[in-house]
């Protein structure tokens, strides 16, 4: 909201306070000053009178003028169509700084010009707040005769030049949206006295009224209506239109302006109805109306059940709390009015206003909350102003529905508790001083300090609220900086968190980048998942169809990341992500996703590349699992027969921990790669929950073998459908404890190997923990192994 310093100075003495000091204090007290705005700006301005005006000899629209500014007569060339002899104008002298630039002495098509005649627009005043018939809209401003030639404070005398502080106000301080209570706050912050207009009770002014008023909605608990039978519509006094202008509201006429002014002062949105439009002398608030209704702005809105509507004789006359109706508005010939000052439910006003896209000053104030006494204050103030400035007469007594239900509250706090919570030592006098500044009328009862909370401070209810007021207004600058004194606690990560970090470490070390993708996905993505978790959860009000569902798996997000990077010419996309996924029925689990494509490592000058493949991904995950405590003995890789739409049916596998399937991986299905124009890529998704449940194997140091080992290489020719793993198992089984390791170091197909066969080269290490093995210890065993392989697999040694 814009706080006008000119207006504030009517209530709070701002003398000897420069703007920056005021701003600094306001910020420290908890308001952000988003912007400091000037309403109308310009130096070197004065009032002049056009004493001569001729057409420019060399132009069809310029005028050559002589302007009297008191101490001299200036030659000025002016292009405004309304420039003419005899009018008083705003003159920007040479050197004047205007929002659009600096005025220099110049020669315009051969004629000297020593300044500029100004439109208000050129002085930075927004056209929205100018009268419709303001000369500034089509030319230069014309001043009336009350202005004196040579007046150097012309902006101020026009009611402009005000400083506006754009304050952002926290949700708990709606009182600061009303000038009267805002002035109280500013006075407390600046430690200056505050003087507000005294309000006289207006309910009983006038004759008895036969106006009928009721509410059929619990969302309107309080309504004051007052009939004023005679008013005269005219121009507002200057001070009222100045205030409205500073607040960005256009002056319309005295009566409408008063309703707006009172709203700005008290925070209470008011509405005045033309008395003629309510022949039944009746108002009922309803919340079950349905239909179209045209508001003051001339736009037709669709009203639905729940929306609060003001009706008379069952016909709507206004959208309650948001905007009045076109059919009941104040016109130039209005001669009598009905004043409305009511309380409507904040939540309902917000809902209706959001739905209709109608964010009015009134709606904003209702949505943020009102001073419970504001309805009454507004009526009192409006009646006073109407009598004074609109010749109001023929008043009827107020008709009141419901009540404000206001109960004054007191809050008790002790110095001991206050100091203990803040960790700073305040004296009783300091505390009392601040409470007095806030108008909390503090009272001492033994150890207790009792505060009497003003009605507009709806945010103050408990002693901690008082503590906040004290520290807020005394300032945080000398608050000590300490650490909590408390029993020792051990800080640590949970198993899950440690596991996550270990995975991050091993995968980044292996050359993968961690990514972080969005949780929300489109409907298609919910059908493209591995390790199905269940039906995807959908949002009630998504921002778009693309982000409507909570993902049940990570595959679509990772695929999207691959596609994005390929589209941007990034190669070698080797990435991983860990994230929770969710499904209906309270299901959730944390997943690890890995994607490999292109080269995982590449040193072309050394002729060394590691191209992404099924085997690279397999080796990577086995090594990672081994590193984090799930060694090869606990993990098995078995054929995948399920998710063969997403993964290559013959290059994909399941990962099992014991008997439980915990993951799936393999080449992404070539159909997907082709359809989406991707490069071959390999994907893995793993359920981390199983790892968290099963404990990692404890690390146990191995005794270093003192005796040398014997190494034997063999090359076997076997049928190509025989699995290397089975051969290894056979060797291990047959060799017993003397075989300490078996590794495949080459697989060869081609020349010298018969069709349908392949050559498998293995290295076998023989080792004993009891003695140095001799040839005669190893050879018979080695022979036995070869025989066994021949027997079981028909394997022969390659020549």
């Amino acid at each position: 909201m814009n706080l006008s310093l000119n207006w504030l100075s009517n209530f709070v003495d701002l003398s000897n306070l420069d703007e920056q000091t005021i701003i600094d204090k306001i910020i420290k007290a908890g308001f952000e000053v988003e912007e400091v705005k000037k309403l109308g700006e310009g130096t070197n301005l004065t009032v002049g009178k056009v004493i001569e005006c001729h057409n420019h000899p060399d132009s069809d629209h310029l005028h050559v003028t002589k302007v009297d500014i008191g101490d001299e007569v200036l030659d000025i060339v002016c292009g405004a169509p309304n420039c003419r002899e005899g009018i008083k104008v705003i003159v920007a002298k040479v050197g004047a700084k205007l929002p659009g630039g600096i005025i220099n002495k110049s020669i315009i098509r051969g004629e000297v010009s020593n300044g500029m005649l100004c439109s208000l627009l050129e002085l930075g005043i927004p056209k929205e707040i100018l009268d419709d018939n303001s000369p500034s809209l089509n030319g230069i401003e014309e001043l009336d005769d009350s202005f004196t030639i040579g007046d150097n404070e012309v902006l101020k005398h026009l009611g402009y030049g005000d400083t506006l502080l754009d304050l952002s106000i926290y949700a708990n301080r709606p009182d600061c949206l009303a000038m009267f209570s805002c002035a109280k706050e500013m006075a407390a912050i600046l430690n200056r006295p505050c003087t507000l207009p005294k309000l006289e009770p207006a309910n009983d002014l006038g004759e008895e009224s036969d106006f009928k008023l009721s509410s059929e909605s619990h969302n309107c608990p309080h309504f004051i209506a007052k009939v004023v039978n005679h008013v005269s519509i005219k121009k507002s006094p200057k001070w009222i239109s100045d205030i409205l202008r500073s607040n960005g509201i256009k002056s319309i006429n005295n009566v409408v302006d008063i309703s707006n002014l009172v709203m700005l002062e008290t925070g209470q949105p008011m509405h005045f109805y033309d008395l003629r439009s309510n022949p039944h002398k009746e108002i009922t608030v309803k919340d079950d109306y349905e239909g179209d209704y045209t508001a003051l702005d001339g736009i037709t809105y669709h009203i639905q059940k729940g929306d609060l509507v003001i009706t008379s004789a069952n016909e709507p006359i206004g959208i309650a709390g948001i905007m009045g109706g076109d059919n009941t508005k104040i016109l130039d010939d209005t001669s009598g009015i009905i004043i409305e000052s009511a309380l409507f439910d904040a939540g309902q006003i917000r809902r209706t206003s959001n739905r209709l896209g109608l964010q009015t000053e009134a709606a904003l104030r209702y949505a943020k909350g009102l001073d419970p006494l504001a309805q009454q204050k507004a009526v009192d103030r409006a009646v006073e102003l109407l009598i004074k400035y609109a010749d109001a007469s023929g008043l009827e007594k107020s008709v009141i529905y419901g009540s404000d239900n206001y109960q004054a509250i007191t809050v008790s706090e002790t110095l001991e508790h206050l100091n203990a919570l803040l960790g700073k030592t305040f004296s009783q006098e300091e505390v009392l001083d601040i409470l007095r500044r806030l108008d909390f009328n503090p009272e001492l009862r033994g150890e207790e300090i009792i505060s009497h909370i003003p009605s507009y401070r709806s945010d103050i209810a408990i002693r901690e609220d008082i503590d906040e007021e004290i520290i807020r207004l005394s300032g945080f600058d000398d608050l000590p900086s300490t650490l909590p004194l408390m029993p020792q606690t051990v800080g640590k990560l949970s198993t899950r968190q440690s596991l996550r970090r270990e995975i991050e470490d091993t995968l980044t070390n292996a050359g993968l980048n961690e990514v972080l993708t969005y949780t929300l996905v489109d409907e298609k993505a919910t059908m493209q998942t591995l390790l199905p978790l269940g039906e995807a959860i959908s949002l009630l009000s998504p921002l778009s169809d693309a982000r409507k569902f909570i993902r049940t798996g990570l595959f679509p997000s990772i695929l999207e990341t691959l596609r994005y990077n390929l589209d941007h010419n990034n190669e070698n996309i080797n990435i991983f992500e860990m994230s929770a996924v969710y499904a209906q029925g309270d299901k959730s689990e944390e997943r690890l996703a890995i994607l490999l494509s292109g080269k995982l490592q590449s040193s072309p000058l050394l002729h060394q590349n590691i191209e992404a493949s099924f085997y690279v991904l397999k080796g990577l995950i086995l090594e990672v699992l081994d590193h984090i405590g799930y060694g090869k003995g606990r993990i098995s890789i078995v054929e995948n027969t399920e998710a063969t739409k997403i993964l290559h049916p013959y290059q994909s596998a399941l990962i099992k921990l014991g008997k439980e399937t915990i993951g799936i991986f393999g080449a992404i299905h070539p159909r997907i790669i082709k359809e989406q124009k991707l490069v071959p890529a390999y994907y893995l998704e793993l359920n981390m929950e199983a790892l968290i449940t099963a404990s990692p194997t404890k690390i146990k140091a191995q005794e270093i073998n003192r005796y040398p080992s014997v190494s034997r290489d063999i090359s076997l020719v076997v049928k190509e459908d025989i699995k290397a793993k089975d051969i290894i198992k056979t060797i291990e089984k047959c060799g017993g404890k003397l075989v300490s390791s078996v590794k495949v170091f080459d697989v060869y197909k081609g020349e010298h190997i018969p069709e349908g066969y392949l050559s498998l080269s293995l290295n076998i290490i023989y080792e004993s923990k009891e003695k140095t093995l001799k040839i005669e210890d190893v050879t018979p065993l080695h022979e036995a192994i070869l025989n066994k392989l021949n027997e079981e697999y028909g394997a022969n040694l390659r020549d």
Binding site: A420, R496, T519, L539, Y564
Partner: protein, 343 residues
Amino acid sequence: MDVNLMEEEALKAIEEAKDLATLENLRIKYLSKKGLVQGLLAEMKNLPKEEKPQFGQVVNKVKEKITSALEAKSLKLNDLALDAQLEKEKIDLSLDAYTPYIGTMHPLNLVVQALEDCFIGMGYKVAEGPEVELDYYNFEKANIPKDHPSRDMQDSFFIDVNTLLRTHTTAIQMRELEKAHGQMPIKLVCPGKVYRRDDDDATHSHQFMQCEGLVVGENITLADLKGTLQFMVDSLFGEGKKIRFRPSYFPFTEPSVEVDMTCHVCGGRGCPACKDTGWIEILGSGMVHPNVLAINGIDPKKYSGFAFGVGIERVAMLKYGIKDIRDLYTNDMRFLKDFKRFD
């Protein structure tokens, strides 16, 4: 042959030898079985008996001198040969032939880890909670009233009337307060993803990350909050940054404060990054609202606490100079590869 003359000739020849082959020839010439030194010894039998020992000594000395001269020269020539060999092995040092690739963590996770580690060191535990959360923990327990705007469908991603994607990690705090069953003290940080119904632009993201902290115990003060946050700022941004409190409002804390840190770009002198104020807003915090303690079965008369919430994106953007929040979720390899450490 005169012994001395031979010695002189031999040493000179050794000295002048240009390569190992020449040196070997010299060794054969002088020291082999048929060599000149051996020849001298053969002449010894012709000498009178009394001269023999002396002559023998002289010849042996000559032999020793030639032997050591040959050895010295051989070492020297070997060194020269090695030098020549090494020179041939000269390589282009400017080539980057081996280019191992070490991956990186996501910058947001780097920040989360740094925060976790900072607080683990002070005895905090790291708590987590579900992202699909009950209204009860997200709002009701956090003292956020029924008609609060964030409870609107317009502002939060609701799933049904009771469930939504959590809008803040405060929901984790509420679960932890409940779980404590009144057992004090509580000291935890809770990082996680949160969601708000905002359109994505350079400074807004419908998904982002927070890390909140919570301490509840006896005699916890606002000054303790200040000290703790100063420690955190020192740890995240390096020592020498000041912090300042400004009043603020959150439904779950009272008093509530906004926390600013000395601008890390200009050091507080004022620059475009801090809009010439010298300060950068980094987090919101406050003393736990007594209603929040009470609803979780903790006696607000006996215990007090503080809570704070850090925006992870905000820290990452400040720290690394990231201008568009969406870059953190685009996962462009060119962007990701630079985050090699927390820094």
